[in-house]
């Protein structure tokens, strides 16, 4: 069976290629996270820094920002204290949200933001948000939390209404011990 020997060597080499590629699929996860971190992409859960401390406020027009609050799969009550806010582009505003744990167990939740229209995400700068860190609520605890944000004055004038939406998800116990927003997340 000498003739089969080179074939078996080849079989082993190719199997190793297949296994390395399987591992490569998994390696793409941390690889992409690093790229996004370096390139500053996808930083929904980190505070923005304002490049110019004095953002020009465009007082000639008003934007309506609708505030939406949802929970998914956890027994919390989550609402914004105002349903909407009127603001000038460039103006820093603060809005308040409230969460209440309706259950008798301690639950860890994480809020994920979502914006409509999508374009807003380029102009929205958030200085403070409860979504930058996980929230731990004791049984029946109620908490009020601020969001501080502005929409840059370069925002297209043809859009008069934008929606900022937050959805709270429950963090599974193994994730609750870590901070999903990474090292830079702060309270």
């Amino acid at each position: 069976m000498n003739a089969a020997q080179p074939n078996l060597v080849m079989l082993k080499k190719l199997l190793i290629v297949a296994m390395v590629m399987f591992a490569f699929g998994y390696a793409m996860i941390p690889f992409y996270k690093k790229i996004c971190e370096v390139a500053g992409l996808n930083n929904l859960l980190q505070p923005d820094t304002l490049v110019e401390e004095t953002q020009q406020v465009d007082t000639s027009r008003l934007l309506t920002v609708e505030l939406d609050a949802n929970t998914r799969g956890l027994p919390w009550q989550f609402k914004s204290l105002q349903s909407s806010v009127r603001m000038h582009p460039g103006e820093l505003v603060e809005v308040m949200y409230e969460i209440k744990n309706n259950s008798n167990r301690e639950i860890t939740g994480q809020a994920i933001p979502s914006y409509a229209p999508q374009l807003v995400s380029q102009y929205l700068k958030k200085l403070e948000c409860f979504c930058f860190s996980k929230q731990v609520l004791k049984p029946y605890e109620v908490r009020q939390m601020p969001v501080q944000f502005l929409i840059e004055s370069g925002f297209p004038a043809d859009i008069k209404t934008v929606t900022i939406s937050y959805t709270f998800f429950e963090l599974s116990s193994d994730f609750a011990s870590t901070d999903v927003s990474g090292e830079t997340g702060e309270i």
Binding site: N7, M10, L11, G25, N42, I112, V180
Partner: protein, 541 residues
């Protein structure tokens, strides 16, 4: 020199066992090739029935025949079955039949593993099809299985994930077999740059499969653990990212579309020179073009996801990289047309399908370049324009090449000539109905009709009706294909060994049909300026 050693009566003890055990236990490359081809044809009809159900629902606006949920399952399973059950196994079937005969090898390198590669497929297909019957129905997230849809569905999704695992294992074993056979088992005298192009394209395809099938297996494993074991790879609430799945999936998915077209290029590169009675215009440029396409396929994946919100720099990179692929592809198209230029062409069914392939695949390639342009793609993303584009490259591309290859080698495989008139009728029916079905879908897409919808606005009604009529015509034309094959297997004019007068690869030096074991002793091959010659066989005449 002695005549090539064809096993005859003295080798009858090497013949196959009879009945079902022959097919279950076979390690013969010809038997396994036949199994692959029939399996893929059955899957082609299964996926076709789903396609026709989809087109029936879309015949007019409103919901008539199926529930929207079931419609989504149909589009998902139609895609999965056609890709993994129809096109890919068909090409593996060609590889099994042809590669050993074209390189002068007695069989595939790992004959037992070859049997396993095939027999993994029917259970996977069964998992996919029976998933329609479980609570919640089959997977309905589209063939791309994007989360969050795919992390939320019922057990039909788990069955799909397992099916993809099994199909992936089968493909990986098949590719290992093909690479080893081609690299280690060529007849003396057949150097790499003397291999037939079909063998070359399959060598490159097998490497692509080895590189990306494990990545797909990883991606669906992550889906599975997200669904069942509480990991958070793609779950935003747990710190994961659904868009990540798209990156991993398309890192597999784009090479995958070349896996489905490169063997087609190989078949067409065998057929065109035969019927133009000229050698291929530029052999080495074809080899290099194939390799370039394969390498470039790894750096264009994000053109499937221009609308996910990536930075402009990335969009530009993926746009230009995608357009770059047009260059080696054009090398191929010009090569085929230059081969036909001033050739003594005849238009038997394989040639008709090969020319149909060049014509329609080029249209599909052009709509691909249109879609590569970021601002255009952002408008056309997920519209019927995309559906038209990939059906032009997959149906009139891959499938037409499969038809061409089938008619080209069927006389060799069966020993009988097929019915040329019926085969030509099959070509013209397929050609006309294919275009009736899919050309109008360009207009639907440009007008804004989204894909994967069971209902649509009134202004899309006429083109959808035309497309549905074409789809039924195309579908029923394939029954003619089945009839031509069955008729050819059962009898017909005896085929000569040579079959086509200027076909010049090694398989044509074998009898028609070839003996159950061929090239048990490797042939001595030599090459004159243009043609491969099996020296022993030529001398024995």
């Amino acid at each position: 020199m002695a005549a090539i050693h064809h096993p005859g009566h003295e080798h009858e003890h090497h013949g196959p066992p009879s009945g079902i055990m022959r097919w279950l236990t076979t390690t013969n490359h010809k038997d396994i090739g036949t199994l692959y081809l029939w399996f893929s044809f059955i899957m082609f009809l299964t996926g076709g029935v789903m396609a026709l159900t989809i087109r029936s629902e879309l015949f007019q606006p409103g919901l008539q025949i199926v529930e929207p949920e079931f419609f989504n399952q149909l589009t998902t399973l139609h895609g999965l079955i056609m890709v993994f059950g129809g096109i890919m196994p068909a090409f593996v079937g060609f590889a099994n039949w042809q590669i050993p005969m074209m390189i002068g090898a007695p069989d595939m390198a790992f004959a037992r593993m070859n049997n396993w590669s095939f027999w993994l497929l029917p259970p996977a297909a069964l998992l996919l099809i029976t998933s329609f019957l479980v609570p919640g129905g089959a997977a309905a997230a589209g063939w791309t299985l994007y989360p969050p849809l795919s992390t939320q569905m019922g057990m039909g999704m788990d069955m799909t994930i397992f099916a993809v695992h099994i199909l992936g294992a089968s493909s990986i074993m098949g590719s290992i077999n093909i690479v080893t056979t081609i690299l280690n088992m060529r007849a003396p005298g057949m150097t790499m740059m003397k291999m037939p192009l079909f063998v070359w394209t399959w060598l490159i395809t097998a490497y692509l499969l080895l590189a990306v099938m494990p990545v797909l297996a990883g991606a669906v494993t992550m889906l599975l653990t997200d669904r069942q074991f509480g990991t958070n790879f793609f779950n935003a609430a747990g710190g994961g990212d659904p868009v990540m799945f798209q990156h991993i999936f398309w890192f597999f998915g784009h090479p995958e579309v070349y896996i489905m077209i490169l063997p087609a290029f190989g078949i067409v590169s065998q057929v065109i020179p035969t019927f133009a009675r000229k050698p291929l215009f530029g052999y080495s440029s074809m080899v290099y073009a194939t390799a370039s396409i394969a390498i470039l396929s790894f750096i264009v994946w994000a053109h499937h996801m221009f609308t996910v919100g990536m930075p402009v720099t990335a969009q530009l990179f993926f746009m230009y990289a995608t357009m770059l692929i047009a260059v080696p592809t054009a090398v191929k198209v010009f090569n085929w047309t230059a081969t036909m230029w001033r050739g003594s062409m005849t238009f038997e069914a394989p040639m008709l399908f090969a020319i149909g392939f060049i014509f329609l695949f080029t249209i599909g390639g052009f709509s691909g370049i249109v879609l590569a342009v970021v601002p255009v793609d952002i408008v056309l993303q997920d519209t019927y324009y995309v559906v038209a584009h990939f059906h032009y490259v997959l149906v009139s591309g891959s499938l037409f090449a499969i038809f061409a290859g089938t008619y080209y080698w069927l006389p060799k495989w069966t020993g009988n000539m097929y019915d040329e008139t019926l085969a030509k009728t099959h070509f013209w029916l397929s050609m006309i109905f294919f275009n009736v079905t899919f050309f109008v879908q360009h207009f639907l897409g440009l007008a804004g009709m989204p894909r994967r919808v069971p209902d649509y606005a009134l202004q899309f009604a006429d083109f959808n009706m035309i497309s549905s009529i074409g789809a039924f015509g195309f579908g029923f034309s394939q029954l003619l294909f089945l009839y031509v094959i069955l008729k050819c297997i059962r009898g017909g004019a005896k085929a000569t060994d040579q079959v086509w007068d200027s076909a010049d690869t090694l398989e044509w030096t074998l009898p028609s049909p070839p003996p159950y074991h061929s090239f048990e002793t490797p042939p001595q091959v030599s090459f004159d300026e243009y043609h491969v010659k099996n020296v022993q066989n030529v001398h024995s005449k």
